[in-house]
Amino acid sequence: MPQFEAGTFDCIVIGAGHAGAEAAYAAAKMGASTVVLTMNLDMIAFMPCNPSLGGPAKGIVVREIDALGGVMAKVIDKTHIQMRMLNTGKGPAVRALRAQADKVLYQQEMKRILEEQPNLTLRQAVVERLIVEDGEVKGVVTQIGAIFRAKTVIITTGTFLRGEVIIGDLKYSSGPNNQMPSIKLADHLKELGLQTVRFKTGTPPRINSNTIDYSKTEIQPGDDVPRSFSYETTEFIMDQLPCWLTYTTPETHEIINENLHLSPMYSGMIKGKGPSYCPSIEDKIVRFADKSRHQIFLEPEGRNTREVYVQGLSTSLPEHVQHRLIASVPGLEKAEMMRAGYAIEYDSVIATQLWPTLETKKIKNLYTAGQINGTSGYEEAAAQGLMAGINAACNVLGKDEVVLDRSEAYIGVLVDDLVTKGTSEPYRLLTSRAEYRLLLRHDNADMRLTEIGYQNGMISEERYESFVAKKAQIDAEIEHLRKVSVKPTEEIQAIIAEAGGTALREPMKAADLLKRPEMKYSELCTVVPPLEEITDEVAEQVEIFIKYEGYIEKAMQQVERMKKMENKRIPENIDYDAISGIAKEAKANLKAVQPLSIAQASRISGVNPSDIAILLVYIEQGKIAKVSG
């Protein structure tokens, strides 16, 4: 194959899935000339699975992406068919937004944004190899021999690396949804010395809405108040489509049990490790045999299609069994299957081979982001894409790298977990992975991250100004409530009684009154009006801050303690072999991960407090015993 020069850029992004789109946008936005090379331009930001974004932890990630100047939030705000706030009955730390996407509109909108973005070139191409010289990436070569050169390369090839689709006893080489797999590139990455593992994920069948008897299901409408992920969104979609809820039946379970021997999961054909938080229906029924039924959510895939996603029925059983499974569910007796469910196995890169910037340790200026790093989920992919894009651009522009820490963002938790601990199965963000989830809220994503987005040129002046104003207003209102005393007037006593609290005996600071669990800021406002008119968003943050101050403070102290350890840097060229006191297993893991700080070291599995103590002594000693050459 004759090769030819096809252009030189600051940054090449391979793949335009959720990670690639975000990476390309960020790099270009920051001022790096960027090309995104992707297999099929009609498949940009394609959702091969659930047409849905957000939910606990993930929804907060979408907010964080927006606060950092990424695009996911803006795209979904324009293209959803339904939005709901979840966990409203619980505390503020775990509230999260979820949207059902119009799958096709989502792709179109993302493509449009990338097309409009200055500095960004979109090109359909299949990348087969990288150009690596002296341990540094210099560019890529495509299937047809086009050479693209660049200072940085970001690989975001998702589940395509040596992808294999499995349905029943059928197994064939394929990317998701019968797209082409990336085999040459997968081989090439191995040649370059990147270690990979085999993971597996799956998707349920899709059915035709016209053939569903909705009368046998329960309706699940969206919220009827305006909602958005992006802080910049001003237009809200109020015309929403509902989802529907139904259940498996004893018959479903019988069919599965009868046909278990046909399942590639149990026949041993599937070897990749699947996610335990996303079990297939066969898995659920085997592992939770005592449950008489499981929920099935019917989710429309868009406004201009009748295709419906059957959430809860993820399976890789043969197609003829899938037909019977569907028919066993109330409302789906006559449902027509449009696509069968399937499992897919693929190579993913072991993420401990990455620095926290997502640059590979092995090959300089090469980044990987998204499902290729062992995660699963659109939001996780987009978040990594954004961070890789920002860091690649920083690299090119000579700016400081951007690494979020665990107390700053779910994105920080995600990246730190990946590069420090690695993952033994497809990784999904959960709120319980975040030790500071009280600080990582849906409502304050902007407070946490806008500044960083702005510093890196991802946030417009206009937006930044309104952010600064909002912040000042929140501070002022909090101060105000702390100062103002509420006297035991009839009016306030009535409000308190209404809320079920005990009456005031003497004047009390408004803030202290608000701390009472039963008191609401909106009610207090009638007695203690805000200094100036405030939005609901501002009110929310004021209320949360005051109400949960004690808890927030505790969390901050914890963060403080961690930061001290985070600030203790480990020299890059440290020679762990020269440190006699560290236990063997700890040594091996430290050498593999090459933690940058003491805090990171302490999170590595197999590294004990005594190892950390010894490490500390060595580092503080100043002359790292023997530095490897």
Partner: protein, 461 residues
């Protein structure tokens, strides 16, 4: 450099009439002030550095006076660690020094790791760089020992109880997490506030119970448990009496006189011992005696030090050999008694079984060899061979402090639940309680929660 405030007993245990509890770190003075009261009622923080003060320690929780003490206060950097230091000089008894340490830990200091004062002195540039290697060795050696002690204690009842508490908390937590992370799943029961209160109160009450029963931990109060074993009539009770110098156990020449356990507390050259005389271990028909024998076996298992006694005037019997087997691997001394009578024992064989330096010959009757025995016990202890007893003493103080912290956090959770605080806030304190209890038995965090989550609940598409 900036570290948290640490505390530890800084005099060897059991030695001397005075013990010192040392506190080092930013809050050292503040902590001392919270528990110390001088007759002048002037806070320590207002006193000049490097001065000594007389007064009393009291427990802020109960206002009870704990100890009469002398307190030295020193401002950094002119101190051993270059940090602010307080040294509380108290009575050397184990009970009192432990109370003091416990109080300091409850007030917010963290129990120092072995060698940590030295480490800080080094890190803060107080000690010479050339000592680095020595410090490392120290840390390494001490942590290894501490680990093995922690493991030993894990076998015990305490760790079982704590394990149960943690399981209960983990189940609740997992359920809360599922409610949060998978709100749309209706098949996981929503953890309600009343349920949270109920679980929390149960855990709190259990901790209270634990604190009551183990409040001064066996070894803390009582010293090394030292068990005298041997066939009937070899002279066990006589040894105990001679060590205690008073006739407590009945000395007779009828085999099997001692039918139950007899305990005495003695201080042998600075080493606190809880001496236990057992009934001669052998198979027996006599019910009363059998109970005694069974208890003897039990006591053996829990001993820190075994004194195995044999009779010099008789050849070794099968029973003797079985005893040697039963205590194999434990810290022990062999006492060959009745040397005033003609020797019939094969002493070489005894040396072979126990190691020559572990064998002491005595004639209790003629008060021979007792000094040698005392010497041997003391040197075993101070050489560190018996350090397990020493360390478990410290870690017990640590357990108590941690249990108190756990009690505090779970109580916070219960109160918050009652006050109607949202569940995910309450969860913060519940998780903290679970973590603290985990610290006691050396268990780690996050992953087990996730495992619990996915093994117990059916989640996902």
């Amino acid at each position: 450099m900036h570290f948290d405030t640490i505390a530890a007993i800084s005099t060897p245990m059991g030695e001397g009439a005075i013990a010192i509890v040392r506190i080092s770190g930013e809050y050292a003075w503040e902590i001392a002030d919270r528990i110390f009261q001088s007759p002048a009622a002037k806070p320590l923080c207002e006193q000049p550095s490097h001065t000594i003060h007389y007064g009393h320690l009291h427990d802020p929780a109960t206002a009870e006076v704990v100890e009469e003490v002398m307190v030295s206060i020193m401002k950094g950097p002119k101190t051993f660690t270059r940090e602010d230091i307080v040294e509380i000089n108290c009575h050397g008894g184990i009970t009192s020094v432990n109370r003091v340490l416990e109080l300091v830990l409850t007030e917010g200091a963290r129990l120092a790791e072995p060698g940590e004062f030295t480490k800080r002195a080094f890190l803060n540039g107080r000690i010479d760089l050339s000592q680095a290697e020595a410090v490392m060795d120290l840390i390494r050696a001490k942590t290894d020992k501490a680990m093995s002690v922690a493991l030993n204690q894990m076998e015990g009842k305490l760790s079982h109880l704590i394990g149960d508490l943690r399981t209960a908390l983990l189940e609740t937590l997992a359920q809360v997490e599922v409610n949060i992370d998978y709100p749309e799943y209706d098949d996981v029961e929503e953890v309600t506030i009343p349920l949270m209160v109920e679980k929390g109160e149960w855990v709190r009450d259990e901790i209270d119970q634990l604190l009551r029963t183990s409040s001064q931990g066996k070894i803390l109060r009582e010293g090394l448990s030292t068990v005298i074993v041997g066939r009937p009539n070899v002279g066990k009770s006589s040894l105990l009496n001679s060590l205690v110098q008073e006739n407590k156990a009945i000395v007779t020449d009828i085999a099997g006189t001692t039918r139950d356990i007899i305990e005495e507390y003695v201080n042998v050259r600075g080493v606190p011992l809880r001496l236990v005389d057992t009934a001669g271990i052998r198979e027996t028909e006599d019910i009363v005696e059998r109970i005694g024998v069974e208890r003897s076996r039990q006591v053996l298992k829990e001993a820190d030090l075994i004194l195995l006694m044999v009779n010099s005037s008789e050849p070794l019997t099968d029973e003797d050999e079985r005893l040697f087997e039963a205590v194999a691997g434990m810290d022990m001394l062999v006492i060959v008694n009745k040397t005033d009578l003609p020797a019939k024992i094969d002493l070489e064989h005894v040396y072979e079984m126990a190691g020559k330096d572990r064998v002491i010959t005595t004639s209790i009757l003629q008060e021979q060899g007792i000094a040698e025995l005392e010497e041997a016990i003391a040197s075993l202890f101070f050489e560190g061979s018996l350090e397990s007893g020493d360390l478990s003493y410290v870690s017990n103080a640590r357990h108590i402090a941690l249990l108190k912290q756990a009690r505090h956090t779970i109580e916070d959770a219960v109160q918050a639940a009652k006050a109607g605080v949202p569940i995910d806030m309450i969860q913060i304190d519940v998780t903290r309680t679970w973590e603290i209890l985990g610290e006691i038995i050396g268990d780690t965090v996050q992953d087990s929660l996730l495992n619990e989550l996915f093994s117990k609940f059916c989640l996902g598409k």
